[in-house]
Each structure stands twice: as structure tokens, then as C-alpha cells.
């Protein structure tokens, strides 16, 4: 931990900015007020001799591979670009916001937004109790706990395309799930077509992403001091009371973070629906990434598709903004993990 420079980088930045602006006089003042002895000289050294050029290689590469495509993506959303003009996209006609208007009025994007959001929220809500229960159950040592922890990680570490391929096989008509349910006297109908597809998507997403909640809940549990356990034991708190009033408050930070990131990951998840159901997408699971992809690479309406992608960026920006505001940039290893 960078003890000296981290507690209040904002004020430090402000102070150094002020000292640069109004001459050298305020600078010792700001340093004098600093609770950390010796940090003044350290900062002085850092300021005179900062190797900011070391940011250049990584920075240039990131601008080339991230910022350029991002800006170009937004630009394409204003073009009428199809498979014929693709190779000469510089001369594709500029159509302003026509793509956005078409996306909203004719393409069913609003339905896709709703499907994306509702499926993400549903999956996130169900994974919460599962992940928390798993974390609470593996917090105390017992023989074989390491193995259980490894098992809990499996769904999360399996590649998405593998998860989707496997569940697709299990869910096929007369596959192992249909047969098992049939033996139990239940006839659910088709899973990979029709209205059930939505629930299949939610279910598989839950199966593969609950360990993420588990990991973050576990990091929250590790921040509970031993004294807290002792105090609860001395008070003779029952396990449920202890969990509810003593332990769960510690989880609030990491869990809110997990909800945000979970939502982001689910909204952006293309692999799962794509491999699970293939093209063309069943109507009930045409989530936003799926619709955007099909518009590009099935209908070859690249401009329209870019407009849809920008819409999904706006959709993602809301949880992302909250996340970036809440995350501790400077000290916590697990952001939000410790309050």
C-alpha cells in the first residue's frame, strides 16, 4: 500500500495545482498540514522527476485499439453502410440520425432493451442468495473446504461457449432434461424454441454466474474482524440473528458492487445466447447484443447496427457510471470490499 501518497490524492492534486497556479508560497502550507511526515519531500521528488513518458507505449496502444474503434463506431452509426459500401466506407452516404430513428421505430430494439434488462436483472437477483449462501458456507474451515471452493468456481471459469454448448445439448428435445422431466410426469415442451427460451437463458446465466457473487461475498466476509465474532458469541446471538444483523452489513459494499458488475456482464453477454440458440435468434431471447450482431452479419445493415451498439453503450453507461463512482481507485484490493 502506498501509505504516504494515497489517503487524499484529490486534495493533494488540488494542492499541487494551487501551488503551481499561485506561486510557491502556498505549497509549504499544504505540506505542513499533511498528517503524514516525510510525504512532502517524497512528493517533491515525484513531481520533479516523474517518468510520465512510460505511459506512452501502453497509452498509444490503447488509443489505437480502443479509442479509434470506439469513435469510428459512433461515426458509422451516422452512415448508411451495407455490404456493398463496406469496402469503401469512407464514401458511404452520411445520413445523420436516420439509423437511430429506424432502430427505435422499426427494428424492435426497444423490446430487445427490455429483454436484456429484465433478463440481466432476473439473473442477478437469483444469483444473490446463491452466492451469499455459498460464501457463508465456506467461510469456516472444515476438512475438504479447499475442494468445495474449487468446485464452486467451476461454472464461472468454464468458457462461456462451453457452458452454452453443454446446456444446449442437455436442453435439446428428448435430451437428458426433457427425458428426466418426462419421467417425473412433467411435460415442459421445447426448450430451445418458443417462449421457454427466455427462461432457459436466465437459468443458464444463473448457473454460470452465481460464483461471481460468491467471490465478492467471500471478500466481504474476510473483512469481518475476529472481535466482531467474539462480541456476537458473547451476546449469545443465534446464527440467524448474527448473520442478519452482524455479518450481512459487512457484505453491503461488495454485494452492491457485484450487482452492478453482474448486470454489466449479463447485458453485454453475447456468447451465451448466441451459442445456446444459434442464428436466427428465437424471438423471445433477441437480447441487444444478439440483435446488433444479427443486424450486422445477417442483414448486413452495418450503419443501423452501429446505431444499436451505441444504444447498448448508453444502456451500459448507467450501471457503469454508478460503478465508477463507487469504486475505490486507490486503496482497496477489492474495490468496495472494505468499508
Amino acid at each position: 500500500m502506498t501509505t504516504a501518497s494515497n489517503p487524499a490524492p484529490d486534495t493533494r492534486l488540488a494542492a499541487s495545482a494551487a501551488s503551481r497556479g499561485s506561486g510557491p508560497a502556498p505549497a509549504p502550507d499544504a505540506d505542513g498540514n499533511n498528517p503524514e511526515p516525510g510525504s512532502g519531500t517524497r512528493r517533491g521528488l515525484s513531481e520533479r522527476n516523474r517518468p510520465l513518458w512510460m505511459l506512452i507505449p501502453g497509452g498509444v496502444l490503447m488509443i489505437v485499439v480502443i479509442v479509434v474503434p470506439l469513435v469510428l463506431g459512433v461515426y458509422i452509426s451516422f452512415l448508411d453502410l451495407d455490404q456493398y459500401s463496406l469496402r469503401q466506407w469512407l464514401s458511404a452516404p452520411f445520413v445523420g440520425v436516420a439509423n437511430y430513428i429506424e432502430a427505435i421505430t422499426q427494428s424492435g430494439i426497444l423490446r430487445s432493451v427490455w429483454l436484456s434488462v429484465s433478463y440481466s436483472a432476473l439473473a442477478t437477483i437469483v444469483t444473490l442468495p446463491l452466492g451469499i449462501a455459498a460464501a457463508v458456507a465456506t467461510q469456516n474451515k472444515y476438512p475438504g473446504r479447499a475442494l468445495v471452493r474449487s468446485i464452486f468456481l467451476i461454472p464461472y471459469v468454464l468458457p462461456g461457449f462451453v457452458v452454452a454448448t453443454v446446456w444446449r445439448t442437455m436442453f435439446q428435445p428428448s435430451g437428458v432434461i426433457s427425458i428426466t422431466l418426462h419421467h417425473m410426469g412433467i411435460d415442459p415442451g421445447l426448450f430451445l424454441n418458443g417462449p421457454n427460451t427466455y427462461w432457459v437463458l436466465v437459468f443458464v446465466q444463473i448457473w454460470s454466474s452465481w460464483p461471481f457473487i460468491y467471490l465478492l461475498a467471500l471478500s466481504g466476509l474476510q473483512s469481518v474482524d475476529h472481535e466482531v465474532h467474539e462480541a456476537a458469541a458473547l451476546d449469545g446471538a443465534l446464527w440467524w440473528t448474527k448473520l442478519r444483523y452482524v455479518i450481512f452489513p459487512y457484505l453491503r459494499g461488495p454485494i452492491s458492487l457485484a450487482i452492478l458488475i453482474g448486470m454489466l456482464n449479463h447485458i453485454n453477454n453475447f456468447t451465451l445466447p448466441f451459442v445456446l440458440f444459434g442464428l436466427p435468434a428465437p424471438n423471445d431471447i433477441e437480447v441487444l447484443p444478439y440483435l446488433t450482431y444479427a443486424t450486422s452479419f445477417e442483414s448486413f445493415r452495418f450503419g443501423l447496427s452501429a446505431g444499436m451498439a451505441v444504444v447498448s453503450l448508453i444502456l451500459v453507461a448507467i450501471p457503469l457510471f454508478i460503478y465508477l463512482r463507487a469504486v475505490k481507485l486507490d486503496d482497496a484490493e477489492t474495490p468496495g470490499g472494505r468499508k
Partner: protein
């Protein structure tokens, strides 16, 4: 994160021996019956599909298609045919080349950036840190299109064929791996003590000297984690690889996806081979995780991205 997690865990041991009966009594969160129930249910939920993959990969296609869990006839032939029928040998090789070079490049570029971000204060530093996290949530669909357009038109404008080559895919994966690798290195370098660097500076080391002589030798665990997290998105990606590859350059993910959708029409899908191929292409990732679990878990939660 990988450095400081142990300090978190050793905190209780200063008070009492962890693992002793008394200690467990005090910190116990669940009554035994509930603990067993939760553990058994969750393990079953995870393991039943996993066992199913293994069983189905040893089964005949008819057996899988008729909903068997335990194969009625066992066969190993799926594991010998997938290398050519699915194109898995070619696919795994391409995945390894593309994801592997992404990992190396990302890790190499991440350390310099992370060093400056951790050790120096400058204007815009927090903005850069935010961007590193924010970039990971950019929808893949927003990046795939402009890259596809750029790469397609490069044949027209530059006479350079990028679509269908591994280069295009490599650049694409850098988009997502660079910010996260850098963030992982930031969290790692934060845990390194400053004293060594200061001693080196007193001895007259330059900034570059500090980075190459002090930071780099201490950073191998961080670099490995950073590289692994750069490797995984490439290995797992379907979106970009499905658009930007030809049959000879397609990755394992795309090979499997194409194989499983191609066999849908008409004839009986080759489920046994699908499951065998799924298992084989998941194995490296799962093994990496199990092997480096202690270090990787911190990284999973620090940026929250798979």
C-alpha cells in the same frame, strides 16, 4: 491484490489460532445441518452438468440424443475424431497463438503504465484508472463492427488483407485485455514495498533503472496473473472470432460453435464429439484456474470481469 489478500487472511491468527475447535465455534456462521445442505446442493448443481459432459463425451450420439445420462455403450472414439472432424487441433493451435500473444503483449505493456500510475501523482491519474475499469464494460458489439469495417476496408485502401488472419484477432483481443491487464498490475504493484525503490534511488538509479532492476524482478507473480487475465478473453471469445476468421484461422471456440450448429440440420447431431470437444477446450482454462487459484481469485473480484 494477490499480495495483500494473505494479510487479510492472517489477521485473525494474531488473536487466536485459526482452525482450532474453539475458534471455529466463535466464528461459525451456519449451524452444521444448514452448512451441509447448502454445500451439498450447490456442489450437486455444479457437478451434475460437469459429470454429464464427461459421460456424454464417452457415449454414442444416439445415446445422448435419447437422453441417457449413463452411457449404455461406452466409446473413446469421440476423443480421437474431434481433432479433425471438429477441427479442434487447428482451432486449439489458433486459440493458443492468438490468445497467447495477446497475453504476452498485454502483460509487457501493462507494467510500465501501472508503475507510473501507482508510484506517481499527476493530473488525470484517477481518470486513467477509471478508464481502465470502464473500458472493460464497452459492449463487444460496439467494437466488433468498426474493427470489421476497418479491417475489410484495409484490403481496399491499403492493399492489406486483415480479415481472416490471426493479426486482426490479435489486435481485437488487445482492446479488451490491455486495460484489464494494466488494472491487475496496478493492484499488484500497490502491494510492493516502496523501500527497495527508495534505496535504489539513493544509490542513483534512474526511473527506468528502478522499473527494470527493482520492479520487474519483483513483479513476476503479478505479470503472470496479468497475462492469464489477458489470455482468457481471447480463448473464450466467440463474437470476434466468428466474424474475423476463416476456416484455417478459426479458434477452438468458433470451431466448436460451427460444428454444433452445422450438425443441426437433418442428420443426427454428433453430440458425443461436441461434448468431447467442449471438455478438451475447457480443460486448459480450468487447469489454469485451479493451478493459480490463489492469485487469480483476487483479480476476478478486483475488476469484476471474467
Amino acid at each position: 491484490m494477490s499480495v495483500s489478500t494473505p494479510t487479510l487472511q492472517t489477521q485473525p491468527s494474531a488473536v487466536d489460532r485459526p482452525g482450532s475447535a474453539q475458534q471455529n465455534e466463535v466464528t461459525r456462521l451456519l449451524p452444521p445441518w444448514l452448512l451441509v445442505t447448502v454445500t451439498v446442493l450447490l456442489c450437486a448443481a455444479v457437478l451434475i452438468p460437469i459429470v454429464y459432459i464427461a459421460m456424454a463425451s464417452l457415449n454414442s450420439d444416439i445415446g445422448v440424443a435419447s437422453g441417457e445420462f449413463w452411457p449404455s455403450s461406452w466409446t473413446l472414439s469421440n476423443y480421437s475424431t474431434i481433432w479433425t472432424s471438429v477441427g479442434l487441433a487447428n482451432g486449439l493451435m489458433n486459440s493458443l497463438i492468438v490468445a497467447g500473444s495477446t497475453a504476452v503483449v498485454s502483460a509487457a505493456f501493462s507494467i510500465g503504465t501501472a508503475f507510473v500510475l501507482v508510484r506517481y501523482q499527476f493530473r488525470g491519474r484517477r481518470t486513467i484508472l477509471r478508464l481502465l475499469l470502464g473500458f472493460q464494460s464497452i459492449p463487444g458489439t460496439l467494437i466488433v463492427l468498426p474493427l470489421f469495417v476497418l479491417f475489410s476496408s484495409s484490403a481496399t485502401y491499403l492493399g492489406l488483407q486483415v480479415i481472416g488472419t490471426r493479426w486482426g484477432l490479435f489486435v481485437t483481443y488487445l482492446t479488451f485485455s490491455l486495460p484489464f491487464s494494466t488494472w491487475v498490475m496496478v493492484t499488484y504493484l500497490r502491494g510492493l514495498p516502496k523501500e527497495l525503490e527508495e534505496a535504489a534511488r539513493i544509490d542513483g538509479a534512474t526511473n527506468l533503472g528502478v522499473l527494470t532492476r527493482i520492479i520487474l524482478p519483483l513483479s513476476w507473480p503479478g505479470l503472470i496473473v496479468s497475462a492469464i487475465f489477458a489470455f482468457l478473453p481471447g480463448w473464450n471469445d466467440v463474437l470476434f472470432a466468428s466474424v474475423m476468421t476463416r476456416p484455417d484461422t478459426q479458434t477452438a471456440a468458433v470451431a466448436l460453435q460451427i460444428f454444433s450448429s452445422a450438425t443441426e440440420g437433418g442428420a443426427l447431431p454428433q453430440y458425443g464429439q461436441m461434448m468431447a470437444a467442449a471438455l478438451v477446450s475447457a480443460a486448459p482454462v480450468v487447469l489454469i484456474y485451479m493451478f493459480f487459484q490463489k492469485y487469480l481469485v483476487g483479480g476476478l473480484t478486483s475488476g469484476g470481469v471474467k
